[in-house]
């Protein structure tokens, strides 16, 4: 998995490439812990995300909770496979997916 970040003022875009699973999600979690300070608009770009497991969902949930009350979080360019996971797990109800 590769994580790329682009920061523009208080907007942070995170691009994730590869698989977000039990072995890679702690890295994303750490990355978020250290970079959400002052961010009011968090965007996840999942164009290159191949797979997401429940551990990855957990990190997204934590990010959503961290952003609740201090700004917005948007998930965009979700592939069909990842979208199916969001639908099955009910994450479509709590995430803003574009």
């Amino acid at each position: 998995m590769k994580i790329n970040k682009r920061s523009e003022g208080s907007m942070l875009t995170i691009y994730i490439e590869g698989r977000l699973d039990t072995s890679t999600s702690p890295e994303l979690s750490k990355e978020l812990d250290s970079s959400l300070e002052g961010v009011t608009q968090l965007v996840f770009d999942f164009t290159l995300l191949e797979y997401i497991s429940s551990s990855g969902l957990r990190v997204l949930l934590a990010a959503q909770k961290a952003m609740n009350g201090k700004g917005t979080m948007i998930v965009k360019n979700v592939s069909e496979l990842v979208m199916e996971v969001f639908e099955i797990t009910g994450f479509t109800d709590i995430l803003t997916i574009e």
Partner: protein
């Protein structure tokens, strides 16, 4: 006269030569002994010590005999450092090995405790000839976060649970144990699946700083009519087979995972299990089993595996599925827990 003078001179020379020779000899011996003391003795001592420590003792310490102010002293010092380091490493490895063995033994016991938590005697209700159930959980590590459960709520109602905790290993297992108990306890109090999931969610959200969550499918089967009332908290679609049909995905309504957000509401729905029909529940470890090319097993392959002998009893269905998954995965390691449950109405 001349001759006697010559003789006397020769004698003096002879004496001088002898004295000089004697001096050289004495000096040489003294010199050799000094060098021997300085070089040979420390080296000899070192060799003996090294020979001795090759056993169990392993202590080579600096001694005065090696303080020769030259290469020997350097060599001895290096040996002493090496010996101390080696002993430290051995001590550490001994400690680590003991710790590893302890953890291994504890995990082995934990595996057994976890397996014992799930109903694992089949047939579970020998006197109920109208239902045939089989279930299995294969954790990817020693312990897992998946669980299945089934229990009679009364003579005519059978509770069925399939669940999957986020993550794997010990953290998931701890969360799994709690979730399993909460679901069965609330189920015993209220027969409404949606209400049970709401109560479990409220309870789990109270103390969940680690943001763990669990996906749960919970259904209550009315044995006499085959009517199933169910609710789905973010879990995989159930698979159902009508009496004369083939296995198909049942795309049910999905609520959010349990433990994710406080105050979640779940919707209940109904489906019918016909006589001769089978309900198959599973976790994503089955659907997302991955081969060496990073391909997922997927629900289409699952349906194929079930339909190769769709009239089979639950135990055979599970074994067909396991074989298919194993064949697909090949040499790739089992990455997620693999859990399945099938119930057939006879």
């Amino acid at each position: 006269m001349t001759e006697s003078r010559f003789a006397a001179g020769t004698k003096r020379s002879q004496q001088t030569t002898i004295v000089m020779l004697a001096l050289v000899l004495i000096l040489g011996t003294v010199g050799a002994l000094t060098v021997a003391n300085k070089i040979v003795k420390p080296v000899e001592r070192m060799t003996n010590r090294i020979y001795e420590i090759s056993g169990t003792d392993l202590v080579f310490e600096m001694e005065d005999i090696y303080r020769t102010n030259d290469e020997i002293e350097v060599l001895a010092e290096s040996f002493a450092t090496l010996s101390t380091r080696t002993r430290n490493y051995i001590d550490q490895i001994t400690k680590i090995t003991a710790e590893k063995e302890r953890i291994g033994a504890e995990l082995e016991l934990a595996t057994k405790i976890q397996a014992d938590m799930l109903p694992n005697i089949f047939p579970p209700f020998p006197d109920r000839s109208e239902i045939d159930i089989y279930a299995a959980m294969t954790p990817a590590k020693e312990v897992g976060g998946d669980f299945y459960d089934f229990f009679l709520l009364d003579d005519d109602h059978l509770g069925l649970v399939m669940a999957d905790v986020s993550g794997k290993g010990v953290p998931a297992a701890l969360f799994m144990m709690m979730s399993k108990i909460l679901v069965s306890n609330y189920a015993a109090m209220s027969g409404s699946p949606a209400k049970v999931l709401e109560q479990v969610n409220a309870q789990i959200c109270k103390n969940n700083d680690e943001e763990m969550f669990v996906t749960v499918w919970f259904g209550v089967l009315e044995i006499s009519s085959g009517k199933i009332t169910a609710a789905n908290a973010g879990h995989e679609y159930p698979i159902i087979k009508k009496s004369d049909g083939s296995f198909e995905l049942f795309k049910d309504k999905h609520g959010f995972v349990i433990g994710g957000m406080d105050g979640m509401r779940y919707k209940e729905y109904e489906l019918t299990l016909e006589k001769g029909g089978t309900l198959f529940l599973y976790t994503d470890g089955v659907a997302e089993a991955t081969n060496n090319d990073n391909e997922l097993f997927g629900t289409d392959r699952m349906l194929d595996a079930l339909n190769q002998d769709s009239e089979a009893d639950p135990k055979t269905l599970l074994s067909n599925m396991k074989d298919s998954v194993d064949k697909f995965v090949g040499e790739a390691p089992q990455f997620d827990d693999l859990t399945m449950l099938a119930v057939k109405l006879l």
